[in-house]
């Protein structure tokens, strides 16, 4: 129980969020389970080319920074500088995507600018990038983007907020969920405290099942320090109460992903819920 087995880890990494398991454990060593992305060294003249007037040279320099990934961080000030000064739409998009690859928080400020650009393609790219650069500026900009006129921007912002552990955004995400921003459910599931998770579960029956369970799925697979077994059992109970075929299918999926090393109490609740709902129309029968 102190640590997950290697196979459990591998499976856990395929789960919706940073998959959790045992009632008091989160996966460890996850970052070492896969090889870090390879990055190319940043050519010396990159920054000079970025500041040049030749669009082809600027593009090539941005590509070099992208290849460097996080190691391209030294180029971030230059990229933000040229973005502030203005680039063509194509280069603007490339620069935004490059900043995303650097995952540098210092890029969030200029990305926040472009998260309000009139060009929706640039807006979507900026919002996506903010999810990677993170920080308080990014959080603020992404929360604002939940109100964007474009549905894809709203959805991307909701997803990004969940991915960057923006706890403060949970209330906004609930409002977004009320406004049919489906992506908000999964992010709430990633971020919610006990009471908020329970609130999400209470949306069952009001919000489409698939949307709510995209969030509940996240809650159930979060670590025990984040979400107690009591809450998980309660959530399973709420799904079970629905007694529908889709509830049964969801519970069976959870059952299939629940590793033996994880909480037995929760597993027992899942198993019982699967049995209780197995006769529901459309459930596919008992297993």
């Amino acid at each position: 129980m102190r640590a997950l087995s290697a196979s459990a880890l591998a499976l856990a990494l395929t789960l919706p969020a940073a998959a959790a398991g045992a009632s008091d454990e989160r996966p460890v060593g996850a970052k070492t389970a896969t090889a870090p992305p390879r990055s190319a060294p940043l050519p010396r003249d990159t920054i000079k080319r970025l500041k040049g007037s030749d669009p082809a040279q600027v593009k090539a320099a941005l590509d070099d920074v992208r290849l460097a990934a996080k190691d391209g961080a030294p180029a971030v000030p230059a990229i933000t500088e040229v973005l502030r000064a203005g680039l063509s739409p194509t280069l603007t998009q490339a620069a935004i995507e490059t900043l995303a690859d650097t995952e540098s928080e210092t890029a969030s400020d200029v990305l926040a600018w472009y998260s309000r650009h009139r060009n929706v393609v640039l807006r979507r790219a900026a919002v996506q990038a903010l999810g990677k650069t993170r920080g308080t500026v990014a959080t603020k900009a992404l929360r604002a983007s939940l109100s964007d006129p474009d549905a894809a921007v709203r959805g991307t912002a909701a997803t990004a907020l969940g991915g960057m552990s923006a706890r403060d955004a949970v209330d906004d995400l609930f409002i977004a969920l009320d406004h049919k921003v489906a992506e908000a459910a999964a992010s709430i599931g990633q971020l919610c405290a006990a009471q908020e998770c329970d609130r999400l579960a209470s949306e069952l029956g009001r919000v489409p099942f698939d949307i709510v369970t995209s969030g509940l799925d996240q809650v159930l697979f979060r670590g025990g320090k984040d979400v107690s077994d009591d809450l998980k059992v309660k959530i399973i109970g709420r799904v079970r109460e629905l007694g529908t075929g889709e509830a049964n299918r969801f519970l069976r999926e959870v059952q299939g992903k629940w590793l033996p090393a994880w909480s037995q109490r929760v597993k027992q609740a899942i198993d019982q819920a699967v049995m209780a709902t197995s006769g529901s129309p459309g459930s596919g029968g008992a297993r």
């Binding site: 007037s53 669009p55 203005g86 680039l87 063509s88 739409p89 650009h117 009139r118 109100s147 964007d148």
Partner: protein, 607 residues
């Protein structure tokens, strides 16, 4: 073959009419077939009508009933509401044409008979079988009712004079189109052919006089102690009537501005008016003529109009709108009174409005919804303490903001009125109208144009600018940034600068809005707006998707040149030379740099 069939059909119709009349005549009265309504008549220079004036000019004409008659149910019931007090009454009877209040009686027809009721009590005075002929008009002098009818599917007319004891005094059938008659001292004044009034002596059926009027005329009636003829104007029967054919009769008309629906003062009485109210009843003009020392005038110097659920008061001399009243449901009948107007709506509500202000003086109720309504006011004057008085601007604002698609036509007119006022309330109304997603697309361009021309009410415009599209807060429509920016820019309202700057970055605003906001900023921006303007300039100088946004870049560039010192000039100079800067902006910025001095706003204007 076809011609013969048509001839047979006409003959059958004629037989039908005669049969109906024979039934009507069977109970007594002499049938008259004189040379009445002859078109070969020669103008006698007013001699005959002058003789009639000599005979009846000094006879007192009693006031007609002040009463509202509602047609209720399935057009099978009348509800009477005496305005001077007295109980409501009902009368169950099929009603096929619009009832007429004449003197103290209500004349109606339907179900193959005509009838007269006491207007105050609803008691039947007389009823006669008429067959399928339709009531056109009626007059009553207290002893005899004269009514004109049109046979169904025929151009022929019938004039019946029926004493209050039910006896037919006179029956005249003619091939000419008769209008609505009046009767004074047993003389019937019968309009016909749109221009003549023939005076028929009911004792012998002779046409004892005729007058030719120079206005389209199909109605005769008594009001305010006088006999009147009318259609498009009011002509008084007085000593000047002898000169009517020379256009010198005592007459008055109203000057009507162009109004939607082309409302009429009087409906032609040459055709029957169906029992149920139609659009002509809802969109109509009302005025009351008044005898003066030297002729005729319009009572109180005002006339009125209805447009579905709006009532309006106009100045008679200039035709200028004085007030507007918004009602809960459509008006279907009204009558101008001394001091105001009495209106009846579809819900059966009777409202008396002050002629001067449009404020409500009194409200009564017929007790049930009505299909049509006839309002007759003669001696009653609209008096009392007005309630719910609003300013003219407030009335206009309420009317133009009414969410009612059928009002759009008149709302355009009212919007022009509103735009012509300087009151801040008008600005607020225009902001609300231009911001409201329910505003008709037909009204929106005019609202935006009017808003852009405002020079008062900056605080309402700033309050609107403080709003932005916000999906989560259900604010799904951006404020009318463009016109507001134009107005605030023209007003040089520097306090609006931060609000205008914030709209440079709202993707929900239109490109035109952004252009206008930037134009205004070029005039009102201060140092505090520099960061926002630098940001906008950087974001859009090379990504502006169209000329509007590029023009906004140029406007902001102009402001930066003025406010950002050497740094600003360098920024503009660099952008003007950079091939990545969109062409429109590059050209504009180049011109900015080349120009020795700029008038505010010029640089940003779209070419």
């Amino acid at each position: 073959m076809k011609g013969r069939r048509h001839e047979r059909r006409l003959r059958r119709r004629s037989i039908g009419l005669v049969t109906a009349l024979a039934t009507a005549v069977a109970c007594g009265g002499g049938q008259t077939r004189l040379n009445l309504f002859s078109t070969s008549w020669e103008d006698d220079g007013g001699a005959s009508i002058a003789r009639v004036w000599q005979r009846v000019g000094s006879k007192p004409i009693p006031p007609s009933a002040d009463v509202v008659i509602g047609i209720a149910g399935h057009a099978d019931k009348m509800v009477g509401l005496p305005l001077g007090g007295g109980s409501k009454w009902t009368f169950a009877h099929p009603i096929e044409t619009r009832p007429i209040v004449a003197g103290g009686v209500v004349v109606g027809s339907g179900g193959g008979e005509a009838f007269a009721l006491d207007a105050t009590t609803g008691q039947v005075i007389w009823r006669r079988s008429t067959g399928q002929i339709a009531l056109l008009g009626a007059g009553d002098d207290g002893t005899v009712t004269v009514a004109s009818f049109r046979a169904a599917n025929s151009s022929g007319s019938v004039l019946l004079a029926i004493a209050h004891d039910g006896q037919i005094v006179r029956q005249i059938e003619t091939g000419v189109p008769l209008g609505a008659p009046a009767v004074v001292d047993r003389l019937a004044f019968v309009p016909w052919d749109g221009q003549y009034i023939s005076v028929v002596d009911l004792l012998n059926g002779d046409e004892m006089a005729r007058v030719t009027l120079r206005d389209e005329t199909s109605r005769a009636w008594t009001e305010e102690g006088s006999l009147w003829f009318g259609g498009v104007a009011f002509t008084r029967f007085d000593e000047h009537i002898r000169d009517a054919s020379k256009g010198k009769a005592s007459r008055a008309t109203i000057k009507v501005p162009v109004l939607p629906g082309e409302p009429k003062l009087m409906r032609s009485a040459n055709s029957p008016v169906m029992a149920l109210a139609d659009a002509q009843d809802k969109v109509k003009l009302y005025a009351r003529p008044k005898a003066t020392g030297d002729g005729v005038a319009i009572e109180d110097g005002r006339w009125y109009g209805t447009y579905f659920r709006l009532a309006m008061g106009f100045d008679a001399s200039a035709g200028r709108l004085g007030w507007v009243h918004l009602n809960g449901s459509d008006f279907v009948g009204a009558s101008a009174a001394s001091g105001g107007i009495v209106l009846c709506d579809e819900q059966g509500k009777v409202t008396e409005l002050d002629g001067k202000s449009g404020a409500v003086l009194s409200e009564q109720d017929l007790g049930e919804p009505v299909k049509a309504c006839v309002v007759n006011v003669d001696a009653r004057a609209a008096t009392g303490s007005p309630t719910g008085a609003q300013t003219f601007e407030g009335q206009l604002a309420e009317a133009v903001l009414a969410d009612d698609p059928q009002l759009v036509g008149i709302q355009k007119v009212l919007l022009r009125e509103l735009a012509g006022t300087t009151d801040e309330a008008a600005t607020k109304a225009l902001v609300d109208l231009a911001s409201d997603p329910r505003t008709s697309p037909e009204l929106m361009p005019a609202a935006r144009t009017a808003l852009a021309a405002r020079r008062t009410g900056a605080r309402f415009m700033e309050a609107a600018l403080a709003r932005h599209y916000d999906f989560l807060k259900d604010v799904l429509r951006a404020p009318p940034v463009g016109p507001i920016a134009q107005a605030l820019g023209a007003m040089k309202d520097r306090s609006a600068a931060p609000l205008l700057a914030s709209h440079l970055f709202d993707p929900a605003d239109t490109d035109d809005d952004v252009m206008r906001a930037a134009e205004a900023l070029a005039v009102v921006a201060g140092p505090d707006e520099l960061p926002a303007m630098r940001q906008f300039f950087g974001m859009y100088r090379a990504t502006a998707a169209d000329d509007n946004v590029a023009a906004a870049v140029v406007s902001v560039g102009r402001a930066l040149l003025a406010l950002d010192g050497a740094q600003g000039r360098t920024r503009i100079d660099t952008a003007a030379k950079d091939p990545m800067t969109v062409e429109y902006a590059r050209d504009g910025l180049g011109e900015l740099l080349a120009a020795p001095s700029q008038e505010p706003g010029d640089a940003g204007k779209k070419k």
